[in-house]
């Protein structure tokens, strides 16, 4: 079949083209380039490292401490942590106001914070992505409706509504997660809408349509992979947002309920004694700060490496 081409005068030239192509293909694949960029980005590496450590801590909390985070000992309350005088070597980070091991609560608390962040981001991600993608892909009336809903959602004061709902339903871990999940979808919707709009008009999407791809296939296989980086970035930021909001709700007394060892709750409980035993809020506060910092750095880093020209 390509005989005619080979036979033609520029067969040799064609052969050389192929050689150049062979050279050219040494430039790395998108995955390899991504890996290369990731490891050149300190913030991202730090974020990944810290987050990995925290996830491992959460997973293996029972192996890291022999204490149970719920067992109280009223005779051994508020023992100071190891760097202070009078500490108990059995409780490295001391004990809280009910004599529970602070280290154990901190370690198990990682589970709570991560679960809240991850599940809330997942719920809001599903809602927001569905809405954003629908609006971005179909445009027109669908877009009008979604944009309107986004506006309504943005107009509602999150903290206030979350407080009200939690006050109504009572603050269990599940309620807090669901409420946050139902409230934090706006950024997903906004970002997905605009990213999908950008991709929607690219020619490879038209090509896929012309090939005869169904709408679900176009969305899932042509559009989503190209907006996934934005989705992941938003997901990390919203995860951090959810963790901070839970902490704020717990701080205001309308979040996760005790004795759940949530970091926000630990700050809220430790706050009572903060002027005398500052470490009670310093320890969970710093843990929370580091977790959120790591997640944010991860998100920022991902944004940088997937769109290096758009750091901001």
């Amino acid at each position: 079949m390509p005989g005619s081409i080979r036979a033609s005068g520029w067969g040799e030239a064609m052969a050389r083209t192929i050689e150049t192509v062979a050279e050219e293909i040494r430039s790395p694949s998108p995955g390899a380039m991504l890996r290369r960029r990731i490891f050149g980005h300190y913030g991202l590496v730090f974020g990944i490292a810290v987050l990995t450590i925290i996830v491992l801590i959460a997973l293996f909390a029972p192996l890291l401490t022999s204490h149970d985070p719920y067992t109280q000992d009223l005779m051994a309350r508020m023992k100071p942590p190891f760097w202070m005088a009078g500490h108990d070597p059995d409780h490295l980070l001391g004990t809280d106001h009910l004599g529970r091991d602070y280290l154990a609560r901190l370690l198990y608390g990682a589970r709570i914070s991560l679960a809240i962040g991850a599940v809330a981001a997942l719920i809001s991600g599903l809602i927001g992505t569905a809405m954003g993608v629908a609006a971005g892909y179909f445009g027109g009336k669908v877009d009008l409706v979604v944009t309107f809903l986004i506006n309504v959602r943005l107009a509602m004061p999150v903290v206030l509504v979350a407080l009200a709902v939690v006050a109504i339903l009572g603050g269990s871990l599940e309620v807090v997660i669901v409420v946050l999940g139902l409230l934090l979808w706006d950024r997903f919707a906004v970002v997905m809408r605009s990213s999908v709009m950008q991709v929607r008009d690219l020619e490879y999407v038209n090509a896929a349509k012309a090939i005869g791809c169904s709408v679900p296939r176009i969305v899932l296989s042509e559009i989503m992979p190209n907006v996934l980086n934005n989705l992941i970035v938003v997901a990390t930021l919203e995860m951090a947002h959810a963790i901070l909001l839970e902490a704020a709700l717990s701080f205001l007394g309308l979040g996760v309920q005790p004795p759940t060892p949530s970091w926000g709750l630990m700050i809220s409980e430790g706050k009572q004694m903060m002027l005398f035993e500052p470490w009670l809020i310093a320890i969970p506060g710093v843990a929370l700060f580091i977790l959120v910092l790591a997640i944010n750095l991860l998100g920022d880093g991902l944004r940088d490496v997937t769109a290096p020209e758009n750091r901001g």
């Binding site: 109280q72 005779m75 005790p258």
Partner: protein
């Protein structure tokens, strides 16, 4: 609203130029903090502790309870006697003037009593006033108060929550006006009110010769600061002189600092577990007496008192505050005995324990501590921490099987203020014990102290036997104030500003 907003903003900006009134002995101002926003300073239209404190300083009752002797003394009344079981005649003090200059006489008493006794006027705490039917003027300085049936505790209320208002002013201003510009006869007059936020009291120079005694400090500046930490921060940085309700741990630390006086006094408030023995919330293990007794044995109340409440708190065994009239102390007690608790549970058919919702509205650490004790004997209690009104709603509907409650009896030193409140088949009665009801009815309506005492005793004994309640502990309050001030707290948890003075 827009214009008002604007004006408000401007005013707030202008206020920047003013400086923070510095608190101290030097300018004779006592700076104190309320923890809760007071819904209304009209003493009949709030139900908060802060309201009681405010009321005691601004208004007077007809009688006065001497905290040291426990005797009733005349305040706005000079003498009083029961004409019959339901009629109390009082002679009023002459020459008393309200803060606005209005003269005090029988008309004021009649107007006040008749106003508050009418349920449709919506006095918030009805039990403070609903025992009165009406007041009748006999002459300018003599009135009769007619009660709805015999009411032995009447003096307690007349010396407490029933404050006398100026009839002319109140008729005109009403509760709304009174809330913004309160007028009374008390040792302090109100200089300014920013609802919920900020109140300034000035010594009433024309205060009559009351057993309360005249105020010593010129100005009391009250701000609402919800957060204990902020209160402490203000205290440390000199913005406040006097706070109370300081949690035990903090009070201990402050006492150790030596910069402030820390005083501890018990209060009439007790904490208890309310158990749904009657099964109002459905069929669950708690309807079984053995289970309730197991719960009583499971909780180390002494440890909670020693570690968490501290101060003058004590473990209580009876469903009332020990000093209250009729509060029988010789009742069945339940020691901390987890093994026995487990055995009782096994006997009741729950060798592996059970799971139950545990409601609470305050003192989360105490609730958590109890949770942990219950867990040790196999009772998996899930804490549901609600706002007071929400929890009360649920309790009224009988939806709670177990809740951690507290009750302060309005500082009324009589068992009727607590036991009768909760065991007379009302919405908050989870025992529904007819026998108890009968005893309490007898005790509440008799004027014979012996009869009352005996009936209360029977009721309380049965309550303890059946473990309808698990009485836990009495509360205490910590008062922290500048070393310049002198103050002796009272067990009724009422801060009487007029009894605070500067150290000489």
């Amino acid at each position: 609203m827009k214009t008002r907003l604007l004006v408000g903003s401007v005013a707030a900006v202008l206020a920047f130029s003013g400086s923070n009134a510095l608190a101290d002995k030097a300018n004779d101002t006592l700076n104190v903090a309320f923890t809760k926003e007071l819904e209304s300073v009209d003493s009949y239209f709030n139900s908060a502790r802060e309201g009681v404190i405010f009321q005691r300083s601004v208004w007077d009752g007809l009688l006065y309870l001497n905290q040291e002797t426990g005797e009733y003394e005349g305040n706005l009344a000079t003498s009083w006697q029961w004409v019959d079981d339901t009629t109390l005649e009082l002679k009023l003090r002459e020459g008393v003037k309200f803060h606005n200059g209005e003269e005090f006489d029988a008309d004021d008493v009649v107007y006040t009593v008749n106003f508050v006794a009418k349920p449709e006027n919506g006095v918030v705490v009805q039990r403070n006033v609903n025992w009165m039917k009406e007041a009748v003027k006999v002459d300018k300085y003599t009135v009769r108060i007619i009660t709805n049936g015999p009411f032995p505790a009447a003096f307690e209320y007349l010396a407490g929550p029933v404050s006398i208002y100026p009839n002319e002013y109140y008729a005109e201003a009403g509760p709304a006006g009174m809330a913004l510009k309160p007028v009374g006869t008390g040792p302090y007059q109100v200089e300014s009110v920013e609802p919920g936020k900020h109140f300034v009291l000035k010594r009433y120079e024309g205060y009559h010769d009351s057993p309360k005694g005249a105020a010593s400090i010129g100005t009391v500046d009250i701000r609402t600061i919800p957060d204990v930490n902020t209160q402490l921060a203000e205290l440390f940085s000199g913005g406040l002189d006097f706070i109370w309700g300081v949690p035990a741990d903090q009070a201990e630390k402050i006492a150790a600092m030596g910069r402030f006086t820390v005083a501890n006094e018990s209060t009439m408030r007790i904490g208890y577990l309310e158990l749904d023995a009657a099964g109002r919330s459905g069929d669950h293990p708690i309807t079984k007496a053995k289970v309730r007794q197991a719960i009583a044995h499971a909780i180390d109340r002494q440890a909670i008192v020693d570690s968490l409440l501290k101060g003058k708190s004590k473990v209580v065994h009876s469903a009332c505050f020990p000093t209250q009239f009729g509060c029988e102390q010789d009742v069945t007690t339940y020691d901390y005995d987890p093994e026995k608790a487990k055995a009782l549970l096994a006997e009741a058919g729950y060798p592996d324990g059970f799971s139950v919702d545990f409601y609470a509205y305050r003192d989360r650490p105490y609730a958590e501590a109890m949770l942990s004790y219950l867990a040790k004997v196999g009772i998996q209690a899930n804490l549901k921490y609600l706002q007071y009104s929400a929890l009360r709603d649920m309790r009224f509907k009988g939806e709670t099987s177990m809740s951690f409650q507290t009750w302060g009896s309005y500082s009324v030193n009589d068992a009727s203020a607590i036991t009768s409140q909760f065991f007379k088949h009302g919405a908050e009665d989870f025992a529904r014990d007819d026998e108890v009801l009968a005893w309490l009815n007898a005790a509440d309506t008799s004027v014979d102290p012996a009869v009352r005492k005996e009936n209360y005793s029977e009721a309380l004994k049965k309550i303890a036997d059946q473990a309808y309640w698990v009485p836990l502990f009495s509360y205490n309050s910590n008062y922290v104030f500048t070393q310049d001030a002198e103050f002796t707290p009272t067990p009724d948890e009422v801060v009487r500003f007029f009894q605070v003075s500067w150290k000489q």
